[in-house]
């Protein structure tokens, strides 16, 4: 026990001497939070739009006003010909072109179906999709108005046809902001980086400079060395989680709705896996560069993609979905999103917690065994 304390103390002293490392742990979480919070957004607030009104009538102008009034569209330009419209889309100045054809008003007065052309720049698939939704919303509203006006004028009574209006309420993230979805997951991302990367680097550094050789000939037992090496990074991991949670609240106003202790407890379960992976990477790398590359490209990146951090797992092919079941980050992100946004706790998340515990113990045990073998 005393030996372990000596190792932990030494780790912290070394850590203190490395100001770069120190600031990485303290400031990187906040920076990441800000980057992800502001930049990683899939939301579309104002659609840059070009309008080519061939009709130029009261009705068409009214429709345009509807578009402006909806608050979703920003009209970049009013085109006079088709070529100009095309140019705006091609150059990416507009995401949507609305073309109102000639005889638009006439057709409406004749009670015929009037059509409207909306052209989208499909190279921004997601944004176009959202914009199309906005367009449909505006047009639907406008056509209803026309119908009810017509009924009023003709003196007939408006008989509501059996239509169903869906009243949509979004729980947990009422504004449907990507940020609210991303930021809680960053907690998981951060612990991964700090515990996995720093652990690996700290061990491989000793290998590289030769101090590990010296430690091996001392009476330190491999298990003491492993614990002594890992504990400091568990503590650092917790510190950066705390920083992120506080910063999350101050900067974005996202507070933890659930139990903070359960969040930390799950973080601990998750750290078992990342430390195990870090230990494993340290046994297969000879230099710190190698360790860095392997950690980032072979462990962290695939883990992020397969965890549902950014891309929904439900859309992935079945074999990849199967693979995601052994990715611990997946379970931890479930928990952080749940606890932070929904306020759920152990009652809901016990399967996630159990998965984390199992995967963590298996990875840590196997890695420790391999590490011990390598030492001998």
């Amino acid at each position: 026990m005393k030996t372990i304390l000596h190792i932990i103390k030494k780790e912290f002293l070394q850590f203190k001497r490395d100001p770069k490392m120190f600031s990485i742990t303290l400031f990187a979480p906040i920076l990441q939070l800000i980057f992800f919070g502001y930049a990683a957004t899939l939301d579309l607030n104002l659609v840059p739009t070009i309008i080519y009104d061939q009709d130029k009538t009261v009705t068409s102008r009214k429709l345009i006003e509807e578009f402006i009034g909806s608050g979703f569209f920003e009209i970049e330009h009013y085109a006079d010909n088709y070529k100009e419209t095309q140019k705006y889309i091609e150059e990416g100045k507009s995401l949507v072109a609305i073309v109102i054809p000639q005889n638009f008003e006439k057709r409406i007065y004749r009670r015929e179906t009037a059509s409207l052309q909306a052209i989208f720049n499909g190279s921004f698939g997601n944004s176009s999709n959202i914009a199309a939704g906005y367009v449909t919303k505006v047009v639907t509203k406008y056509s209803r108005q026309i119908v009810s006006n017509y009924l009023d004028i003709s003196g007939r009574k408006f008989i509501p046809a059996g239509s169903i209006d869906a009243e949509i309420r979004v729980w947990y993230n009422p504004e449907l902001k990507t940020r609210n979805f991303m930021v809680p997951a960053i907690v998981g991302l951060l612990i991964s980086v700090i515990t996995l990367l720093l652990t690996t680097l700290a061990i491989v550094k000793e290998k590289e400079v030769g101090t590990l050789e010296q430690l091996i000939v001392t009476p330190i037992k491999p298990i003491q060395l492993i614990i002594g090496k890992l504990v400091p990074f568990v503590i650092l991991g917790f510190i950066s989680v705390s920083i992120v949670i506080i910063a999350m609240n101050i900067i974005f106003g996202i507070a933890v709705r659930g139990n903070v202790f359960f969040l930390f407890f799950s973080a601990f379960l998750y750290i078992l896996s990342t430390l195990g992976l870090g230990l494993f990477v340290s046994t297969i790398s000879k230099t710190q560069q190698q360790a860095m590359m392997i950690s980032v490209f072979a462990v962290l990146m695939p883990m992020n993609f397969l965890s549902g951090f950014a891309f929904p797992l439900e859309n992935m092919p079945i074999p990849i979905q199967m693979l995601s079941y052994i990715i611990p980050l997946k379970y931890f992100i479930n928990i952080t999103r749940g606890v932070i946004l929904k306020g759920t706790g152990l009652a809901v998340h016990w399967p996630d917690a159990l998965a984390l515990l199992t995967i963590g113990l298996v990875i840590l045990f196997l890695s420790a065994l391999r590490f011990k073998k390598r030492l001998e």
Binding site: L13, Q14, G210, E213, T218, P219
Partner: protein, 310 residues
């Protein structure tokens, strides 16, 4: 009393035998030289003696503990210093000593006492707050040795401790080794500097994992090199070497700086044989020929040549 007793120690890695059935003893408080070319099996042997590598066959008793049965007990009673500087560069001198002292389980009082001693031998008194990485090479080396014996082990293993250190620091370092030995610590040292091996009380040579010679420096020179050895100073050293190698009265040749050392056999009678060969037949000027007392380097090369011929 023996500090180490090695019996039939063998280490195999698959089909490759790194250490092949070696046996030797190291006496308490002596300076013991362990010599061999790179890849001869030196590091593997040291690792086994330190209890960090399990022998395939055989055993060694180090400070009364068997490396095969009680490797953990062995570790408590030995010190080890490698060719690479192995203290933490990013810790202060005192912090390094605290750490290693702590790892060996020294009490606070004992630790303070030993820290003072280490700082003294490394000329670092009052400088324990200096960052270890900022120290000059020679000082670092002494500090590393001090740290290796902070727990006062019966024996200390030094694996090429002076490689990459300037000659003056090397000399100072050997004074320190002598001091340790006179205080009763056994010093087990490997080196590539054969003039350093002359300072050892006893030496063993290993090659290809086998022990090929043992004894003190004096007996090594007489026992293993009984033929006369000559130093030839001449122009065109390389050419002369090739010619001498082929002549019937020469057994072995080797280059020492600008000179050639040759081991001659019974066909050699007088210097004229050499001058005749080089000057008259090949136009090489011979400046000087002298019979010399062999150095350990001569013995070492001779032994390796003999082993190769076998």
């Amino acid at each position: 009393m023996n500090s180490i007793e090695v019996k039939n120690l063998t280490k195999k890695f698959g089909n490759f035998t790194s250490v092949d059935n070696i046996s030797f003893n190291v006496k308490q408080a002596e300076i013991f030289g362990f010599l061999g070319a790179n890849g001869a099996g030196k590091s593997t042997t040291i690792k086994m003696l330190c209890g960090i590598l399990e022998p395939t066959l055989g055993d060694a008793i180090v400070e009364g503990q068997s490396v095969a049965k009680n490797p953990d007990r062995v570790k408590q009673n030995i010190g080890y210093m490698s060719q690479r500087f192995s203290l933490y560069n990013d810790l202060a001198v005192g912090e390094n000593l605290d750490f290693f002292g702590g790892v060996y389980g020294l009490s606070n009082q004992k630790l303070n006492e030993r820290k003072k001693w280490v700082l003294k031998i490394a000329n670092l008194e009052g400088k324990e707050n200096l960052l270890t990485g900022s120290l000059p090479g020679g000082i670092k080396q002494r500090l590393a040795l001090g740290a290796a014996v902070i727990h006062q082990p019966g024996i200390v293993f030094l694996d090429e401790p002076t490689s990459g250190v300037d000659p003056i620091s090397r000399r100072n370092f050997w004074e320190l080794i002598n001091e340790l030995s006179s205080e009763g610590t056994t010093v087990f040292v490997t080196t590539h500097y054969l003039e350093e091996a002359e300072f050892c009380n006893n030496i063993i040579f290993i090659d290809d994992g086998k022990l090929i010679a043992e004894g003190n420096p004096k007996t090594l020179k007489t026992k293993y090199l009984d033929k006369p050895i000559l130093e030839v100073e001449c122009s065109s050293v390389i050419e002369a070497l090739v010619i001498l190698e082929k002549s019937p009265f020469v057994d072995e040749t080797s280059i020492f700086g600008n000179n050639i050392h040759i081991i001659v056999n019974e066909k050699y009678v007088e210097e004229k044989q050499i001058t005749a060969l080089l000057e008259k037949q090949n136009n090489i000027t011979v400046k000087k020929i002298s019979k010399i007392v062999p150095t350990l380097e001569d013995v070492f090369i001779h032994l390796l040549e003999m082993d190769k011929k076998k």
